[in-house]
């Protein structure tokens, strides 16, 4: 019975020793992933910004145009319009006016409108869960002009079924893969938008672009204006200068003429990118310092667990030696050497702690994540801090980082290590008791009652 309790107690100590490194490893992996994701995002954005040096983004609301209207991902990679902010529109005649500004090469209008259908979603965060209602998808009206299509890749490029939109198309849709899956519609099927039926001509792949902004429908801008009741209105313009050197002057003219519009140039975008990089760096630094803190805590806890385990073994073995003094006396009287006696008690201590190790692995493999989350409370900060930035870029998968923490599998190396530690601590803890046992005078021991 006593042995059983001791083994359970040891088991918990061992489980702590096993779980904590696991938690740490999981945290490190999470931090690593975070860094990689951030780096990828930054690089992608940098590339896109560089490709579009001559682009000036004009939009009616501040939330738009930050990075969302980059050419290759025109309708994708952005939050649905109306999510958290009002949809504001611009009269499309402003586009014609801008077109007349000197050195402006092209003005490409876009209309973005959230779908009439909405969905309720429960979002769980480390700080609790809440339910929000948001549009099911975004409708993007694109000006289907062959010059625009060819020069500015205003349409999604990764078509996986059917074909892309082309000049003059009307009454047809290009939809994102996840939307096609959501509604179970394929190429050739019909889909109702604002009560008007459209035919799906193509599906583009939206994976790797986040789940929030990727449910999307592309159509001719005139169709979009008609069905959404926004005839004559657009959401934003992509203004292309003839040369990079004209960008600033054009932007200045536009800013002067239309003070209520938001104008974003290459430099603005770079500044934004820098800001974002700064934020990332800060987040990563936070994550790192959290990790360092966690590791310090873990080290302390492991030391405590090691000391506790050794002390348990030590006291139990001291008690055992005391309890079995007489037995030791007998063994010595019938000719057992000090070494025989010592090794016997050492072996016993090692055996007990080895069994503790087995129990520890059992407990650890069941409750490692629980134990490490219990013992390392800072882990949840990762999920929280990374989640904050998720909606701003589409290329990371929101939610994965938070859930990755402390869920690493129990690996065999760690188990082997745990056994090694068990043997070591068993030997360490029983060293002194065994030595004392071996030194017992047989005569005294035999008198002991």
């Amino acid at each position: 019975m006593r042995a059983f309790l001791v083994i359970i107690a040891l088991g918990f100590s061992m489980a702590i020793m096993i779980s904590i490194p696991q938690g740490i490893i999981a945290n490190q992996e999470a931090a690593q992933n975070l860094t990689e994701d951030y780096n990828t995002t930054i690089v992608n954005m940098q590339e896109e910004i560089n490709k579009t040096a001559t682009l000036i983004e004009i939009s009616a609301s501040s939330g738009r145009g930050m990075f969302s209207s980059t050419p290759s991902g025109a309708p994708s990679g952005m939050p649905p319009a109306g999510f958290g902010q009002e949809e504001v529109f611009i009269n499309e005649t402003i586009g014609d006016e801008i077109r007349t500004i000197e050195h402006v090469k092209d003005v490409v209008p876009f209309l973005e409108k959230s779908s009439d259908e909405t969905t309720s979603e429960t979002i769980s965060t480390p700080r609790g869960s809440f339910t929000i209602s948001r549009p099911l998808y975004t409708i993007t009206g694109v000006s289907l002009n062959s010059t625009f299509i060819d020069n500015y890749s205003i349409l999604p490029t990764n078509i996986i079924a059917g074909e892309n939109l082309s000049e003059g198309d009307s009454g047809v849709l290009l939809i994102s893969l996840n939307l096609s899956e959501y509604y179970d519609v394929g190429v050739g099927d019909n889909m109702e938008i604002y009560g008007v039926s459209f035919t799906v001509v193509g599906i583009y792949n939206s994976t790797g672009q986040g789940t929030m902004g990727s449910r999307s429908v592309c159509m001719n801008i005139t169709d979009a204006q008609t069905v959404t009741g926004q005839v004559g209105n657009v959401s934003r313009f992509d203004v292309y200068a003839e040369d990079v050197s004209y960008v600033d002057s054009i932007a200045d003219v536009i800013k002067a003429a239309y003070s209520d519009l938001y104008v974003t140039t290459y430099e603005d975008r770079l500044t934004n990118l820098e800001n974002m990089q700064e934020m990332y760096t800060q987040t990563l630094n936070n994550a790192e310092s959290t990790l360092a803190q966690t590791q310090a805590t873990a080290t302390q806890e492991i030391v405590i667990a090691v000391v506790a385990t050794s002390l348990i073994v030590l006291f139990v073995m001291l008690y055992t030696v005391r309890e079995r003094t007489r037995e030791i006396g007998i063994l010595k009287a019938i000719g057992f050497s000090n070494w025989n006696v010592m090794s016997q008690f050492m072996l016993e201590g090692i055996l007990v702690s080895l069994m503790g190790g087995v129990v520890g692995i059992a407990i650890g493999s069941i409750g490692a994540s629980f134990l490490s989350s219990l013992l390392l409370p800072h882990i949840s900060l990762f999920g929280g801090s990374s989640g904050r930035f998720q909606p701003s870029f589409g290329s990371t998968n929101p939610g994965t980082i938070g859930s990755e923490t402390a869920s690493a599998a129990l690996n065999p190396e760690l188990m082997l290590l745990a056994f090694g530690v068990a043997v070591l601590l068993g030997a360490l803890g029983s060293l002194y008791p065994a030595w004392r046992a071996s030194r017992t005078s047989p005569m005294e021991a035999l008198r002991y009652e």
């Binding site: 010595k332 009287a333 000719g335 057992f336 050497s337 000090n338 025989n340 005078s441 005569m443």
Partner: protein, 261 residues
């Protein structure tokens, strides 16, 4: 049969008890020949156990020599003393001192741990010894399932395991009833005769002491000069198993206590 198995020279033992010196043994000169069955008698506190501990290498004398089977054990370093205990001496205790978690045969095998004997040889030897003490039927029993007398028999078998030069029995009948006690003494006597095992029996019971071949008395740590000749009755197995008194070879009932033999 004149070879000396055990010899002590001017054996002294002084204990310190609370700053006071107690002389437990003083100038003990003892000679035990091979095949002897000697009894050492004395009141409690006379130094019997101290002497026995000294003879069995469990304790070191303050002064003097203990020569066991030709070796002066007082000069053997502590580290190697266990070998003397293992191979030269067999102990039989008042409280049997069997390992409670080992069965009879394992208890007998215990002193053979660490010897060159293989597992089979140990088992064979232990079996022989248990047969010798009349416990062949009880090999697998643990001590708590054996009677006190049976436990002491196992202890005797254990003492003989490594074929020691001498068996030291410290009040072996102290925890036994009278009849069982005599049976144990008879067994020791029988082993002395059949196996030629040299025996030293320590007791405070003069009846039992008188059954040995030589009777020594210890008083206040001194061996009394006059040594009595024992009854030798053990040699003829002519003692009553119930009261230990002398009987005749053809007696059916003990002439003293009247019980059936």
């Amino acid at each position: 049969m004149s070879e000396l198995v055990l010899e002590t020279e001017k054996l002294d033992k002084v204990y310190k008890l609370g700053g006071r010196q107690v002389r437990a043994l003083s100038d003990v000169n003892l000679q035990v020949k091979k095949g002897d069955f000697i009894s050492i008698m004395g009141p409690s506190g006379s130094g019997k156990t101290t002497l026995l501990n000294m003879l069995g290498c469990l304790d070191k004398p303050t002064y003097g020599k203990v020569i066991l089977d030709g070796v002066d054990v007082t000069k053997v370093p502590e580290k190697r003393l266990f070998k003397i205990r293992k191979y030269k001496v067999g102990f039989v205790f008042q409280t049997f001192n069997l390992m409670p978690y080992l069965n009879a045969i394992e208890n007998v095998e215990l002193p053979m741990d660490g010897t060159k004997k293989s597992g089979d040889e140990k088992r064979k030897r232990a079996r022989e010894l248990l047969k010798l003490v009349g416990l062949s039927e009880r090999e697998e029993h643990r001590p708590h399932r054996l009677s006190a007398g049976e436990q002491q028999r196992v202890a005797i078998a254990r003492a003989l395991a490594n074929n020691p030069a001498i068996v030291l029995a410290d009040e072996p009948t102290g925890n036994l009833d009278s009849k069982t006690g005599y049976e144990i003494i008879r067994l020791l006597g029988k082993l002395n005769i059949d196996q030629g095992t040299t025996m030293v029996l320590v007791t405070h019971d003069s009846h039992k002491a008188a059954l040995a071949s030589r009777m020594l008395s210890l008083n206040d740590g001194k061996l009394l000069a006059k040594e009595k000749e024992g009854a030798h009755l053990l040699k003829k197995e002519l003692i009553c198993p119930h009261c230990g008194r002398e009987i005749q070879p053809d007696d059916e009932f003990c002439p003293r206590c009247g019980k059936k033999l």
